[in-house]
């Protein structure tokens, strides 16, 4: 029961942070000059088209990002001794933090009409959207799926050798069952990320034909200033994701958990080895080229002028503060949720366990703009919002990071609980001792990944800080946008590179400190 209390607390906070602001938006009647609009949006042809396009591009992007990611993650898992492997895997955490507008520029540097691999005008449209979404999400999916191979018990591989299984049979009977635990969650996460994509879709999409639901929400809240409609559209988006979540969870199977050692790197034939290396090289090129083009642009820019600006270092400090605090909060909340859902799953109440994971996963699709505005409506009559900018920004970023925590930690915590719960009971290990001797050593690797991902995600976030306003340039992401808005494209590229280097450093440090030395090694 002691596990249920913190979990319930987290769920209550989630509900409060997500539903509270939405309700507040519905009840905004007395704003001067605000007339509530007709909410029968389903009769609107424009919105139907937007809905269709959002779903279509998100589904296609998800498939194109996750299916290759399975192959690439498998290649990484099989080739544990590859030189530069750890560096490449860290690089794979980076696209997530590239601010959307910088990513668009980098992708155009590679595929634009004067780029390295020019696609000309055909870049603008579904091609550009897919390239950008695969760039963002393929590396993320690789990082999230890779641990599944590392959890495969050693004797499964030995057995497969004794039975003379071929690669297909090994995949079918050993790897696929393991993958089925994590894959639905990863699909859902990537789907949500693509569904809520905004600047990328609008800019690379070629025009308003490529309008997503997220754009419609933004339009309602900003341009038309119709908060009730925005809240309704946000609910619609939430509902859609719920449906997709239920569909993906249908294919989820939790594998049996055994107490065993696991050593994933398998001796393989040289043909397999070369195929794996080919896959890794291809994925690295795809992810690396836009990053490389950015690096080249930035190094040709006014590096000294940018880094000698005192405001840059202030912005860097608050970026770090926001990133680290949000990551810590997010991981704590995720830990409590998962601890409870793991014990539920262990007790055979899998439906309820999944529901809890789902609640934590789905918050991502409520646009920060909606949460932020709603929070503003709730808070501004009571407190001076200016004093609350940092807590609010941190809270919203922690909230947005929760789905990543659930994905990174979920499978590992469930397995850990299933393997060692009875042992812990026998030994009377509880509380801190259980954490120290059983959970920490075995979970620090996924914990390091989770904390690193949420930190870099929050560090790259722009949305909320711009919404609440600031008297000075407060984060690096905001600084990049301001520079771009003032013709300072070269400066913005340098700032973006600094943000990326900072993220890379923080990610590597967190993974090393928390994850331990063998972080991503086979």
């Amino acid at each position: 029961m002691s596990r249920a209390v913190p979990a319930a607390l987290v769920l209550a906070i989630l509900a409060l942070l997500v539903l509270g602001p939405m309700l507040a938006l519905f009840h905004l009647g007395d704003i001067p000059g605000y007339a509530a609009s007709d909410l029968r949006f389903w009769e609107n042809a424009y919105l139907r088209r937007v809905l269709f396009f959002s779903l279509w591009q998100a589904s296609l992007s998800t498939l194109l990002a996750v299916v290759p990611a399975i192959l690439v993650a498998r290649a990484f898992a099989m080739q544990g001794q590859l030189p530069l492997r750890n560096l490449l895997l860290r690089l794979f955490a980076l696209p997530l933090v590239v601010p959307a507008v910088v990513a668009v520029m980098s992708i155009v540097s590679v595929y634009g009409s004067s780029g390295w691999l020019p696609l000309g005008r055909s870049l603008y449209g579904i091609n550009g959207i897919l390239i950008a979404h695969v760039f963002f999400n393929l590396p993320l999916a690789v990082r999230l799926l890779l641990p599944q191979w590392q959890a495969i018990p050693q004797h499964h591989w030995q057995l497969s050798e004794q039975l003379g299984m071929n690669a297909w049979q090994r995949w079918r009977f050993i790897e696929w069952p393991m993958l089925r635990e994590a894959l639905p969650g990863v699909l859902l996460l990537v789907f949500m990320l693509c569904l809520t994509s905004f600047a990328v879709v609008l800019t690379l999409g070629g025009g308003p034909r490529s309008t997503t639901l997220e754009v419609a929400i933004y339009q309602s809240l900003r341009f038309d200033f119709d908060p009730a409609r925005a809240a309704l559209l946000a609910l619609l988006q939430l509902g859609l994701c719920m449906l997709v979540a239920l569909l993906t969870l249908k294919m989820q199977r939790l594998p049996e958990v055994e107490i065993t050692l696991s050593t994933p790197a398998r001796p393989s034939t040289s043909l397999h080895k070369w195929v794996d290396i080919g896959l890794i090289v291809a994925a690295t090129l795809f992810v690396g080229m836009p990053l490389l083009s950015m690096l080249i642009d930035a190094l040709g820019g006014p590096v000294v002028r940018v880094i000698s600006d005192a405001n840059l270092w202030r912005a860097l400090a608050s970026t770090l503060l926001i990133g680290l605090t949000a990551a810590l909060l997010s991981v704590c909340a995720g830990w409590w949720l998962l601890r409870y859902s793991a014990s539920l799953a262990y007790a055979g109440r899998r439906a309820r366990a999944r529901l809890i994971d789902l609640a934590g996963s789905i918050v991502y699709v409520v646009p920060p703009l909606v949460i932020g505005t709603g929070m503003f409506v709730l808070l501004s009559p009571r407190v001076d919002v200016f004093d609350w900018v940092y807590p609010i920004v941190i809270a919203i970023n922690a909230l947005m990071g929760l789905p990543f925590v659930i994905r990174c930690l979920g499978p590992a915590m469930r397995q850990n609980h299933a393997r060692y719960h009875r042992l812990c009971l026998t030994l009377g290990l509880t509380g801190w001792n259980r954490f120290r001797f059983v959970e920490w050593p075995l979970l620090r690797r996924p914990l390091g990944l989770a904390i690193g991902l949420v930190a870099v995600l929050a560090m790259g976030d722009l949305g909320v800080i711009a919404l609440f306003g600031s008297t000075q340039t407060s984060t690096l992401a905001l600084m990049i946008y301001q520079q771009l808005g003032a013709y300072l494209v070269p400066q913005a590229t340098v700032t973006a590179l600094l943000l990326l280097l900072l993220c890379l450093g923080v990610f590597a440090l967190l993974e090393r400190l928390i994850g331990g030395k063998t972080v991503v090694a086979g």
């Binding site: 001067p32 600047a199 754009v215 501004s380 008297t471 771009l484 808005g485």
Partner: protein, 335 residues
């Protein structure tokens, strides 16, 4: 974990109380857009110049843009801390007027540089500019000379524009097309759309893509080339002068009705239309000052095109028709 949030909040409050105790001087709060407050915007110099004489503290609060500012003020209502809103343009002044949140500034614009006379008791302009298509002379040697020619020449230049739902220049082009083509603007958009490479969320994306060479022309301002000439000593960029004239953007400020320091606020507005403030504008906001005087403009501005005649729709008409026009535009552009 829950207890951490209020602690940070109260920490910040405590910090603020301490700092406000130290400073007994009044603080004037101005909501503006964040490119105004950024280090390379007018903000820092405006703040320094005003604080030098006002015996007060000027807080420039940067929000994302004019629309965000106005929405924020509406949400805060009477409880707002803002004394002045600086940075909304004439496309949303009707909306701002209807909110009832502003009060007469009581000032007159002397020596106006605006092409039209300015009579508005609620809003006072501080700068203005004109939308234009900017191109690279080395790439486009024979730019169109009218909006009509741009639309009707099917072999004309490729374009990058912004979305009127999310961007000020994007809305500006929509109104420009309306002004020139009237009821035929749908057909004009349909014809133009074939040469539009992409429609971006904001000005930055489109301009960035243009600098990368993704299209022949980008929707921007007649003053954009001045940035390249002055800051980069690069005179390759030019704005195409159109015979119909160019659609105008006038940026204004207003005095918030709920302000506790109206005297100080009026002093700021007066400062805003003085030469000291106005001479900061051309090379930080890259717009024209609202008061006349050759000395306010750098010499390089002489190389810019003459945008006359200035085109501007009445704010009431924009407020009444904007939504319908945007829906029409969406319909045409989604075909």
């Amino acid at each position: 974990m829950l207890s951490v949030l209020p602690r940070i909040g109260s920490g910040l409050i405590a910090l603020l109380v301490v700092t406000s105790l130290q400073a007994a001087t009044p603080t004037l709060v101005v909501y503006t857009y964040d490119s105004f407050t950024s280090d390379w915007g007018p903000g820092p110099r405006v703040k320094a110049a005003f604080e030098a004489n006002c015996n007060c503290k000027l807080d420039l609060v940067g929000l994302s843009d004019g629309v965000a500012m106005l929405n924020r003020l509406k949400l805060e209502g009477a409880g707002s801390r803002a004394d002045i809103l600086l940075g909304i343009d004439t496309n949303i002044t009707a909306d701002a007027r209807a909110s009832g949140l502003f009060e007469a500034h009581g000032l007159t614009l002397q020596d106006s540089a605006l092409p039209q006379s300015w009579q508005d008791d609620l809003f006072l302009p501080y700068d203005f500019g004109y939308f234009a298509f900017v191109y690279n002379r080395e790439r486009v040697t024979n730019p169109p000379t009218s909006l009509r020619q741009l639309v009707e020449d099917d072999n004309g230049p490729t374009l990058l524009i912004q979305d009127p739902r999310t961007s000020t220049p994007g809305l500006g082009l929509l109104l420009w097309m309306k002004k020139v083509f009237g009821e035929d603007s749908d057909q004009a958009w349909e014809r133009l759309s074939k040469r539009i490479v992409t429609v971006s969320k904001g000005w930055s994306e489109a301009y960035g893509l243009f600098l990368k060479g993704e299209a022949d022309m980008v929707l921007s301002y007649t003053t954009s080339p001045a940035y390249h000439i002055i800051a980069e000593q690069d005179s390759r960029y030019a704005a195409a002068a159109f015979t119909e004239g160019h659609y105008q953007q006038i940026e204004v400020a207003g005095l918030v009705r709920g302000s506790q320091q109206k005297q100080l606020a009026r002093e700021f507005l007066e400062f805003m239309i003085s030469a000291e403030f106005q001479q900061i504008i051309p090379t930080t906001n890259w717009m024209y000052p609202v008061i006349a005087g050759k000395s306010l403009l750098p010499a390089e501005f002489d190389q810019l095109i003459d945008p006359a005649p200035a085109l501007l729709l009445d704010e009431r008409q924009v407020a009444a028709e904007r939504k319908r026009w945007v829906d029409e535009w969406l319909e045409v552009m989604s075909r």
